[in-house]
Symmetry: C2
Subunit: 595 residues, 2 copies
C-alpha cells in the first residue's frame, strides 16, 4: 500500500527560516501566519490530506470516473471526501474574504495544495479548479457575477471548470470556433464543442460554474476576437437556488494514461445560456491571467508526485533486502537493505535534491504572487510581480519535468515491484505525466520565458533575480562550510548569465534561434534557481550546526544535500549553456518530410 | 490509430554498408545473407510484423490477459497470430539447424526481433522466451533433452519460460528457496513458489517448457548451490505426445503498468516433475549465459519502443497544425504543422539520433555474439566474445533508458492527445518501462560493466573497442565534411578513456567508489558508442554524397543527424566524466534513516 506523510518539518523550515514570513507582518493576512498558528494549520492540513484524500488515491485510479448518459460518477468515496474538505473550510484558503475566501497567505494555501496533490492528485483538481474560476471571476467579473458565484465556489457548494481547448485548438487558442450569440437581454447563447475539459461534469457538487472562451460573431479573427463567458451547469435563480439545466452536455470522457479519477470530457453546447465576463474580445487576455496563476499550481503538482513517489521509494529501500554490501560493514546484514547500495542512494538523493529545493522555490514564487497582489507598497508589488511572472514558466516546466524524472527514479528503486499496480508507484508516474502538458506544454513555457518573460520591464525581472543570487553567493563565499556550494553556484550562474544575454539578443529578432535553445535554457534557469535555494538552505543549516541549535540531524541533512546538488546536479549547467546557444539552423536544415 | 512501418532502408543500410555482412561469407549461414535474399527476408519480416502482430498491440493492451482457475487466456487474436508466426517459420531464426532452427545470421534474427517488438512488444515475448529456453537447453542440456524439447520449441508447437525470481529474490538469486528433491529414477520433484514469471502459463501452445532454478537439499548456501531444471507443463511421452499435467500451477497474474498482453504470474510447484539440466550446483552460471544473451533482446526492445513511438510522433507532427511559424515563411500555412516548430524538431531529432544509431550498434553487438559462436577462427571468436560481453550491459541499460526517454518525448509531441489511450503513444511509454528493470535492472548492468566487463581479458575488450573508435576518428579527421563530428567524438572518447582508467583502478579495490559512478559511467559509454556509429554513418553518407551515388536524401539525413548528435548530444560526455568519477563518499555520508 502506498504511503504519504506531509513533510511538515520542511514546510516550517521553508516558511520560517527560508522565506521568513514574519518579515511581511504588514501584508494583510500575514500577521498571524507564524509560530503556533502555523503549526496548527499545517497539522490540520496534513491530517485531512493524509486521512481523507490519500486513502482514495489508489482506489480512485482503479475505479476511475464513469460516464453514463451525459452524467459522470466520480469514484467511490469522492463525494464524501469532497464534502469533508468543503465543510472543514479547505476551499478558497487564500481567496478574498469579501466573497467567502479565507484570506490566508498564498504560501500557506500552496503548502496545502502540494499536500493535497501528493495525497491525491485527481481529487485535488476539483478544489484547485474551483479556486481558479473564483480568481477569474474575481478579477474580471461584474459585481453581480461575483456576488452570485464566488461565495458558492468558496464554500464548495459549487465547483468550477475552465473551457478553453477545442479538438483542433489546444496550444493555439486563436483557432477556437465556439460561438457566443448575443441575445436581446444582454446574455449570450453558446454553440460549439470543447475538448479535454477537466471536471466540467461530475457528481461532487450541486452546480458547476464553467468559464468558457468563445467568439461573438463578427469579432476579429485570431486572439483578439475571443471573449470570456460564465456558463453554469444549472441556471442560478435570483433567490440563490438552482433553476433549469443549461444546454451543455458532456458527450464522453477520455480514457487516459493517468489522473483517471478526474474526468476529462468533450462538452457540447447547444445554445447554452452564458454571460460575458469582462470586456468583449478581451477573453484570451483574461484567460491567460488565470492560466498563469494556475501554472504555479501545476508546478507544485509536479513536485507533489515527486515527493510522494520518493517517500514510497525510501520506505521500500529501507525494507527491501537484496545483495551484499559492497564494502563489508560489520553492522550491515547480508542481504543488505537496498538503501545501502550507492546507486540506490544516488537515485534517492537525486529525488530529494529536487523535492526539497523545489518546495522552497515554489513557495517563494507563491510569496511573490501574493506580494504582487497584497503588499501595501506599490514598488514592492511591482517587483514581486516581475519576479513571479519571470519564474512561473520556469517552475511550471522544470518542476513537472523533474516530477516525471523523480517518479520514474522512484519506480526504478522498486525494481519489478514498481511495475505492478499494487505498490502504487507506477500510478505516480502515470498521473504526473500530464503536468508536463496541461496549462501550456513545457515547450510553450520555454517560449514564454525567452520571448516574453526575459524582456519584462526591459529585463528588470531577470536582473533582480540574478542580483538576489549574487548576494547569496557573496554572503556565502567566505564561509568554509559553504564555499564549495557557493563556488559551484557562481559558475552555474555565470553560464545562465551568458545564456540569458544570448537569448535577450535574439528574442526580439532571430526568434527561431532562440526557440531552438529555449527548452535547454529553461532547464538551465531551473537548475540554477534550485541551486540558489540549496545555497540558502545550506547557509541556514551551517549556521545552525555551528551554533549547535535546532534539529542538528535536519540541518546536517540539508548541508549534505546541498553539497550533493552542487557536485552532482549543478555541473549540468555548462552543457545546457552550450546547447541553449546553438541556434536552430541544424534543427531546421532537413525538410519535415526527411525526418 | 497507432502506426508502424518497419524501417527497411535502415536495416539494409546497416547490414550492407555499416556492418558489411558480406565480409563474413566464410561464417556458416552468412554466405546468402545479402542482396536480393536479404531484401526478401526483410520484406517478409516487415509484412508479418506490420500486418499480423501490430494490429493486435493496442487491443491486446486494452483487453489484457485473463486468469481463470489457474489458466491464462491471452487477448483475442493472439492464438491465431502466434500460429501464423509459427507456421510461417518465424521462430528460431538464428538457432541450430540440427534441432529445427533456421541457422540464419544473428543480425537478421535480431532485425526481425526489433521489428516484432516494435509491432507488438507483449506478443514478441512469447517467441523470444521460447528461443531463450532453446538456447539454454542447447548449451547445457543432455542430447536426450535436446532431442525431446528443441524441435518443438523451434517449430513453435511448444513455448518456453524462464523461472528465476522469487518474491524475496529478484536481483539477488543467492536467496532462492525453491527446492528440488532427488528421486530414485534420477529425476527431481520441485517444491516452492516463483514470482514475476513471464509467459509461464497461457493458451498459445500445447505445452510450455519451463526452465527453473532451484536448490537440491544439502547444497551449499548462496549462488554455488543452485541448479537448473527443465519442468514441462505437460509431461512429454516417449512417442512425442503429451502425458499428464505436471504439478505446477499459475496461482495469479499481476496487474501491471504495461505489457498487459503478456502474463506475469506467481507459480506454485507442488512436487512437480523436473529434470536436471547440466551439472548439479552450476545452475546460476548456466542461467546467466542465457540471461546475458537475453539482454541484447531487451536492449532491442528499448529501441523498438523508441522507434514506434518516434514514428507516431513524426506522423502526428506532420498532420497537427498549431501556432504561427516563428520566422514568417512564404511556403508555410498558418497554423503550421507542428513539425516546423524548432522545439518539436529538437524532440524528433533527439529520438532519431538515438534510434538510428542504436539500431546499428545493437546489430553490431548481435554480429559479435554470432561471430563468437560461429566464426571459424578461434582468435576471432575470442575477440568477438570479449566485445559482445563488454557491450551487452552497455546497450541493455543505455537503450532501455533512452527507449523510455524517447517514448516520453514522443508522447510530449502529441500534447494532450498523448495522454489519451486512443493515440497509442502512452502505451509505448508504459510498455517500455519494464525494459529498464527486467533481465537485471539498469543499475545492475552498470555494476556488471564496471566490476566485471572492464576487466575481461585483463581489459582487452575495452582496449579493442576503443582502438576501433580511434581508427574511425583518425580516418575521418582529415575529411572536411566529417571533421566536426570526428573532433567531438575524440573529445568524448577522451572523457570515456579517463573515466575508464578511473574505474579500472577502483573496480578491484574501492568498489563502493566505482559503484557510486557506475550509472553515469555506463551512460557515458553508451553515449560515446552511439557517437562512433554516427561517425561511421556520416562517413558512409559523405562518401555517397561526394560520389553522387545512392539515395542522396537518405545520406544527407544521416550527415545532418550525425552533426546533430555531435553538437547536441555528445557534449554530455564531460558532465558524465565528472559525475562518474566523484566516488561515493557523498552518497553514503548520511545514514539510511536520515534520507
Amino acid at each position: 500500500m502506498p504511503v504519504y506523510r506531509a513533510p511538515l518539518k520542511e514546510y516550517r523550515f521553508i516558511i520560517e527560516e527560508f522565506l521568513r514570513l514574519e518579515r511581511f507582518a504588514e501584508v494583510p493576512g500575514y500577521a498571524d501566519a507564524a509560530g503556533e498558528t502555523l503549526a496548527v494549520f499545517l497539522d490540520s492540513a496534513a491530517r485531512i490530506c493524509e486521512g481523507v484524500a490519500q486513502p482514495l488515491n489508489q482506489p480512485g485510479d482503479l475505479e476511475g470516473c464513469r460516464w453514463e448518459a451525459g452524467e459522470v460518477r466520480t469514484p467511490k468515496g469522492f463525494r464524501e471526501a469532497y464534502r469533508r474538505f468543503a465543510d472543514d473550510g479547505w476551499i478558497g484558503l487564500a481567496l478574498d474574504t469579501v466573497y467567502g475566501g479565507k484570506g490566508l497567505p498564498g504560501v500557506l494555501a500552496e503548502s496545502f495544495a502540494e499536500m493535497l496533490a501528493a495525497a491525491n492528485l485527481a481529487f485535488s483538481g476539483y478544489i484547485e479548479l474551483s479556486e481558479a474560476v473564483f480568481s477569474a471571476l474575481h478579477a474580471h467579473g461584474s459585481e453581480a457575477q461575483k456576488r452570485l458565484y464566488l461565495p458558492k465556489l468558496a464554500s464548495g457548494e459549487w465547483t468550477g471548470a475552465m473551457h478553453l481547448t477545442e479538438a483542433h485548438a489546444g496550444s493555439d487558442l486563436r483557432l477556437i470556433r465556439t460561438r457566443a450569440v448575443p441575445q436581446a437581454d444582454g446574455s449570450y447563447r453558446i454553440h460549439g464543442t470543447k475538448s479535454f475539459i477537466t471536471n466540467a461534469e461530475h457528481d461532487l457538487a450541486a452546480n458547476i460554474v464553467n468559464v468558457v472562451i468563445a467568439r461573438i460573431p463578427g469579432s476579429p479573427e485570431g486572439s483578439g476576437g475571443v471573449s470570456l463567458f460564465v456558463v453554469p451547469k444549472f441556471l442560478p435563480q435570483a433567490d440563490g437556488g438552482l433553476g433549469p439545466r443549461n444546454a451543455l452536455e458532456c458527450a464522453s470522457i477520455e480514457h487516459k494514461m493517468g489522473l483517471r479519477a478526474a474526468p476529462t470530457g468533450v462538452i457540447h453546447y447547444h445554445g447554452a445560456h452564458g454571460w460575458l465576463v469582462g470586456e468583449v474580445n478581451h477573453g484570451l487576455r483574461a484567460m491567460f491571467t488565470m492560466v498563469n496563476d494556475a501554472r504555479l499550481g501545476v508546478a507544485l503538482q509536479g513536485l507533489s508526485q515527486a515527493e510522494v513517489a520518493c517517500q514510497n521509494a525510501i520506505h521500500y529501500a529501507r525494507e527491501r533486502r537484496q545483495g551484499r554490501a559492497l564494502a563489508p560493514a560489520a553492522d550491515l546484514p547480508d542481504p543488505v537493505p537496498i538503501i545501502e547500495h550507492p546507486d540506490v542512494r544516488r537515485m534517492l538523493m537525486t529525488m530529494r535534491a529536487f523535492t526539497e529545493a523545489a518546495r522552497g522555490l515554489g513557495l517563494w514564487v507563491a510569496l511573490q504572487i501574493d506580494l504582487a497582489k497584497r503588499h501595501p507598497d506599490a514598488a514592492e508589488r511591482a517587483r514581486a510581480d516581475r519576479l513571479a511572472a519571470l519564474m512561473t514558466p520556469v517552475i511550471k516546466a522544470h518542476f513537472t519535468d523533474w516530477g516525471s524524472e523523480a517518479a520514474n527514479l522512484a519506480l526504478q528503486c522498486f525494481g519489478g515491484y514498481g511495475f505492478i499496480e499494487d505498490t502504487g508507484v507506477e500510478q505516480f508516474v502515470r498521473d504526473v505525466r500530464i503536468t508536463q502538458i496541461y496549462e501550456g506544454t513545457n515547450g510553450i513555457q520555454s517560449l514564454d520565458l525567452v520571448r516574453r518573460k526575459l524582456s519584462l520591464g526591459a529585463g528588470a525581472g531577470v536582473r533582480e533575480f540574478f542580483a538576489l543570487l549574487g548576494q547569496s553567493i557573496a554572503a556565502a563565499e567566505g564561509d568554509a562550510a559553504l564555499a564549495d556550494i557557493a563556488q559551484a553556484l557562481r559558475t552555474a550562474l555565470s553560464s545562465l548569465g551568458q545564456a540569458t544575454a544570448w537569448m535577450q539578443q535574439r528574442a526580439g529578432g532571430d526568434v527561431t534561434a532562440a526557440a531552438g535553445g529555449a527548452t535547454d535554457y529553461l532547464r538551465l534557469f531551473g537548475l540554477v534557481s534550485l541551486g540558489w535555494v540549496w545555497l540558502e538552505y545550506a547557509r541556514i543549516g551551517a549556521a545552525a550546526v555551528s551554533q549547535g541549535r535546532g534539529d542538528l540531524a535536519f540541518h546536517r541533512h540539508k548541508l549534505a544535500l546541498g553539497r550533493f546538488y552542487a557536485r552532482r546536479i549543478l555541473p549540468e549547467a555548462s552543457m545546457l549553456l552550450a546547447r541553449a546557444t546553438l541556434g536552430a539552423a541544424d534543427l531546421i536544415e532537413l525538410a519535415g518530410e526527411d525526418l
